[in-house]
């Protein structure tokens, strides 16, 4: 039964993917046809296919600003801006920008930076495209699922603007390679998703003297500022001590509305463009706070460069070597490439595998299954018959567990009572809950190892995962 179900859903998925590919190809054909009509409206297809006059792109058109005729046409709407003009565009074309992270922030930032004509655009990422990222990582298309984000993002940038240089750095940024990679660019855009990377990138920018456009987004809020620019503060000036790791929430746990990093990523592109073109007033010494839910943007004044800053302060001697030897994971107590936490708090006899639990259900064992995930998680997907008591309200709702156990226990013939199992998303909170339940006298409580994710992996692959 289950394996048939698995086959069917696999086939359906394949059909969906093929359909998506087909509509994508259709879109690309019509876009190319439209392009063709624009290039050669009177002659139709043949003339172009046979090769008309080669364009004189890449050559200075002789007007003293270094822009080729192709560039003049492509960036004409920039050139028409009195405050931007040929000088701004020519500065942009000569600049190089590195975007670290091709995710929710990096996606729109890269699209705009490629489109606007940054001369050389670098992308660093070590991750692959996943379908549950696509609601916000809009640079990636379904055909790239499972492939490196760098490859996907670079292809998207090239298809928008084939006239600029796109450089792929398909690796995780570490202290061992950061100096070498960042030194190749004028401006750095921090579009990463974790605290150690943010400290590492800021320090590296201080060591190399590069301006840093830093953005962050989570849930329904975003933050943006420019560090290490024109005597302004660096990340460490503002946050000399890292926050406790429990205060660093991840999009994969707390959620994020896709368009929120989109807004911040666009603003990061804007700040990078302003610095690269030497136009306007970059957001240095100020911070933009975006609250999507109440539709409010507030720009606040932040402290200047701190004289006591360990990275950029007056007596700071943060050298390349010190940077390379600094342990950012230890400093922030957070791994550079975050992977889900795997706690191991309980004795083996207080835990049960998902497969064993399945057997108990099949055998008809009388039990109570308490799901300790937050209510909004429970609404997404849950196991039949489970009782949702979020971990945070466990203390207040212990009587519910007692009465449920009593009620079920009455159904057992021998009067041996009902068993108590605890489940969560990945098997961490369920262990904490079982620990607490043991303390409160529910000594038979057992944790289901690996949680719902384990259940979906080992027992029921058709259970939707999030």
């Amino acid at each position: 039964m289950e394996s048939n179900g698995g086959d069917a859903s696999q086939i359906l998925r394949q059909i969906e993917t093929l359909k998506a590919t087909r509509s994508d190809i259709d879109r690309r054909i019509s876009a190319l046809e439209a392009q063709l009509r624009e290039i050669n409206p009177s002659h139709g297809n043949d003339a172009v296919l046979n090769g008309s006059c080669p364009p004189i792109s890449g050559f200075d058109s002789g007007f003293g600003h270094g822009l080729s005729p192709d560039n003049i046409y492509r960036y004409s709407r920039h050139l028409l801006l009195p405050s931007f003009g040929v000088q701004g565009q020519s500065n942009l074309l000569k600049s190089s920008i590195l975007v670290v992270g091709a995710g929710g922030l990096g996606s729109p930032a890269l699209l705009y930076l490629a489109a606007c004509g940054v001369g050389r655009l670098g992308i660093v990422d070590h991750d692959v495209v996943e379908v549950n990222n696509m609601h916000r990582q809009i640079i990636h298309t379904e055909e790239y699922i499972g492939q490196p984000k760098v490859k996907s993002a670079a292809a998207a940038c090239r298809s928008i603007n084939s006239t600029i240089k796109i450089v792929e750095h398909q690796e995780a940024l570490r202290t061992s390679n950061a100096l070498e990679i960042l030194s190749q660019y004028d401006i750095v855009v921090d579009a990463t998703d974790n605290a150690p990377s943010r400290y590492m990138i800021s320090d590296c920018c201080v060591v190399l003297g590069k301006p840093l456009v830093s953005g962050a987004a989570l849930g329904l809020e975003g933050q943006l500022t420019v560090y290490n620019y024109n005597g302004g503060p660096c990340y460490r000036c503002l946050f000399p001590t890292p926050p406790p790791s429990t205060a660093c929430q991840r999009c994969a746990d707390s959620g994020v509305l896709g368009v929120v990093p989109g807004v911040i990523g666009c603003l990061q592109a804007l700040e990078a463009i302003k610095i690269a073109s030497a136009v306007g007033e970059p957001l240095s010494g100020r911070m933009l706070l975006f609250d999507a839910l109440s539709a409010r943007i507030r720009i606040v004044k932040i402290r200047g460069r701190s004289l006591q800053c360990e990275a950029c302060g007056e007596s700071a001697t943060f050298t390349r070597q010190q940077f390379q030897e600094f342990d950012y994971e230890k400093f922030t107590e957070t791994p550079l490439s975050p992977s889900p936490l795997k706690l191991n708090l309980l004795q083996a006899d207080s835990r049960i595998s998902t497969k064993e639990f399945k057997e108990k259900i099949v055998k008809g064992e009388v039990h109570i299954l308490v799901d300790v995930r937050p209510e909004h998680h429970f609404k997404i997907v849950s196991l039949p018959g489970s009782l949702n008591i979020p971990f945070r309200s466990l203390e207040a709702r212990l009587p519910e567990i007692s009465s449920a156990l009593e009620e079920e226990g009455n159904k057992t013939k021998s009067g041996s009572g009902a068993q108590l199992y605890v489940l969560c998303r990945r098997g961490n909170d369920s262990q904490r809950a079982v620990q607490y339940l043991h303390k409160m006298g529910f000594t038979s409580a057992k944790d289901i190892i690996g949680g719902l994710e384990g259940w979906a992996r080992d027992v029921d692959p058709n259970l939707p995962m999030y």
């Binding site: 992270g101 995710g103 929710g104 922030l105 990096g106 579009a191 990463t192 998703d193 974790n194 605290a195 943010r198 953005g215 962050a216 987004a217 989570l218 849930g219 809020e221 975003g222 933050q223 503002l238 946050f239 000399p240 001590t241 890292p242 926050p243 406790p244 429990t246 205060a247 660093c248 929430q249 991840r250 999009c251 707390s254 994020v256 990093p261 911040i264 911070m287 706070l289 609250d291 109440s294 507030r298 720009i299 606040v300 004044k301 932040i302 402290r303």
Partner: protein, 99 residues
Amino acid sequence: MQLTLEFGGGLELLCESKKIHKVNVETQKGVEKLTMKDLLTWVRTNLIKERPEMFMKGDTVRPGVLVLVNDCDWELSGQLNTTLEEKDVVVFISTLHGG
């Protein structure tokens, strides 16, 4: 003293998910001024409903929290010694790392 207090970047979760609090903070008898140090104690007692360690460490805010008095970093106004005035707006915001 009438003040507007705002919590963001996840700190609102510590005060019943409410972001904006219009509050009236009584100054101690015989003392006219209210400092940020006084306000932090007041907030911890009156608004923070859970995990106070996610808001404060020692007598100040925990690392990673920015404090803004009338849209200005409190570092620029004297941190804990900042003197508050009627109708001031104080924002507590946790720095975000996601993307």
